[in-house]
């Protein structure tokens, strides 16, 4: 039997919690990791040496850069997928919460608690 009323409001709040405070938090962390990894490019001068010792930047520099770029791409794609999924979960929560008065009321109460617990301003209704 499909949920409705208060039960659906709780389900919607769970989607909101999953999207806003789980998936999107991790998406931000993966995005931060990707940005930090990209930021390590600034240190490439550390490979420089006399060219008689394996070339001016050594044999490993090219593969290091290539793998770093690959990992940046993986992290960014993961971040984007999670960000969009998190947004979709929040959107779904708001859609389902608007089903009826019971779901709307239950969702509103739980959402306010979740927002307060996570120290973030609530999304606009």
């Amino acid at each position: 039997m499909p949920h409705s009323g208060e039960a659906l409001g709780v389900d919607a709040a769970n989607l909101y919690n999953a999207g806003r405070f789980k998936v999107k938090v991790l998406a931000d962390q993966f995005g931060g990791a990707a940005t930090s990894l990209l930021g390590t490019q600034a240190g490439d001068g550390i490979f420089a040496r006399d060219p008689r010792v394996g070339g001016s930047l050594g044999p490993a520099k090219g593969a290091f850069d290539e793998l770093r770029d690959q990992v940046v791409g993986l992290l960014k794609e993961t971040q984007q997928n999670m960000q969009d999924t998190g947004d979709a979960l929040v959107m779904a929560a708001l859609e389902y919460a608007a089903t009826d008065e019971g779901s709307r009321t239950a969702f509103k109460g739980i959402r306010e608690t979740l927002d307060a617990e996570n120290h973030v301003p609530p999304v606009p209704s």
Binding site: M1, K22, V23, F30, A33, I46, R49, D50, A60, T78
Partner: protein, 313 residues
């Protein structure tokens, strides 16, 4: 003597080789002046010039190591890769090298499984089966790739730290041998090259999902408990009987040292290339398919076939 002073010491070794060669051949030396009572100053100068010519390239032999890659820079890179990148994907599987705190937030994805459990629309099922269920393994594999990068940085630091110590050892012992060359029992010494034993494979990392390639995380042996070195320290004995023998031994040791650095860096290259091959050949082990849910719209989100459908239970 330290690596930073290598240029000065290389020049001193060249000067010592010239002087000790002349003294061994019977010339006197005092306060910068070479003399021989049976020769005119002009004749002595000619001999000095010829001798200086024979040793003209000695200081330059050290040139390949006057400018080296920067071990401290690689230490900083390794530290950044650990704390600013790998940490976020570390569920507690990081071993060896820099100790790194696990990211407790990764557990939030387990919470998500529970929070979406009542939903059975196609997008919900797709999210559970194609994304959430693969999440731990794929995150672990992404973490492993970052650790390969971190290990490469740590290994580069190890290689160049050992290279600087080894060239310092060569310079120090060459100078000591020259200084003692005219003793009754000139020293027989050995240069100690430590690059080959400075890096190794760090155990404890496993890819998830049946990757056919073996991925190896490297590390600096002195910094990574349990690291298995690729080689051993190498001693190169040499005779201190005359200046040319010492100089030739220095040249041989420097050539050997260059070879050790290149061989060690090729091990680092192999580790990085294995990571690249793994991503190219098995990308599904390193990235989850984009969930259908990610592209849902307000018009589709409640749909049974394209959205979350109904919550049941």
């Amino acid at each position: 003597m330290s690596w930073e002073q290598l240029g000065d010491h290389a020049a001193k070794i060249q000067q010592s080789a010239i002087i000790m060669d002349l003294r061994q051949r019977g010339f006197g030396y005092d306060k910068g002046r070479v003399y021989d009572s049976s020769m005119t100053d002009e004749q002595v100068q000619t001999v000095v010039d010829i001798t200086a010519g024979r040793f003209a390239g000695v200081a330059a032999m050290f040139d390949p190591f006057i400018k080296t890659a920067d071990p401290a820079g690689f230490d900083r890179l390794s530290e950044r890769l650990a704390t600013e990148v790998a940490h976020w994907l570390n569920a507690g599987q990081g071993k060896g090298g820099t100790e790194m705190a696990a990211n407790p937030d990764l557990g939030r994805m387990d919470d998500v499984k529970n929070l979406v459990e009542p939903w059975f629309g196609a997008a919900a099922v797709n999210f559970r089966d194609n994304f959430l269920s693969k999440w731990p393994g794929i995150t672990a594999n992404q973490f492993l790739l970052i650790m390969i990068l971190k290990g490469a940085a740590e290994a580069e630091a190890g290689v160049w730290r050992a290279a600087r110590a080894s060239i310092d050892d060569i310079a120090h012992k060459a100078q000591a041998a020259l200084d003692a060359m005219l003793d009754c029992n000139p020293k027989d010494l050995a240069f100690l090259l430590t690059v080959a034993g400075s890096i190794g494979a760090v155990g404890g990392f496993v890819t998830t999902g049946g990757l056919s390639l073996t991925l190896t995380v490297l590390g600096e042996v002195s910094a990574s408990a349990g690291a298995i070195p690729f080689g051993d320290k190498k001693e190169l004995p040499f005779s201190g009987k005359n200046a040319m023998a010492i100089v030739n031994a220095v040249q041989g040791a420097i050539t050997e040292l260059i070879g050790q650095v290149i061989a060690a860096e090729n091990k680092i290259l192999e580790s990085l290339n294995a990571g690249l091959s793994a991503v190219a050949g098995s990308s599904d082990l390193f990235i989850a398919p984009r969930p259908a849910l990610a592209d849902a719209t307000p018009a589709t989100i409640r749909d049974e076939t394209a959205g979350l459908g109904s919550a049941l239970g």
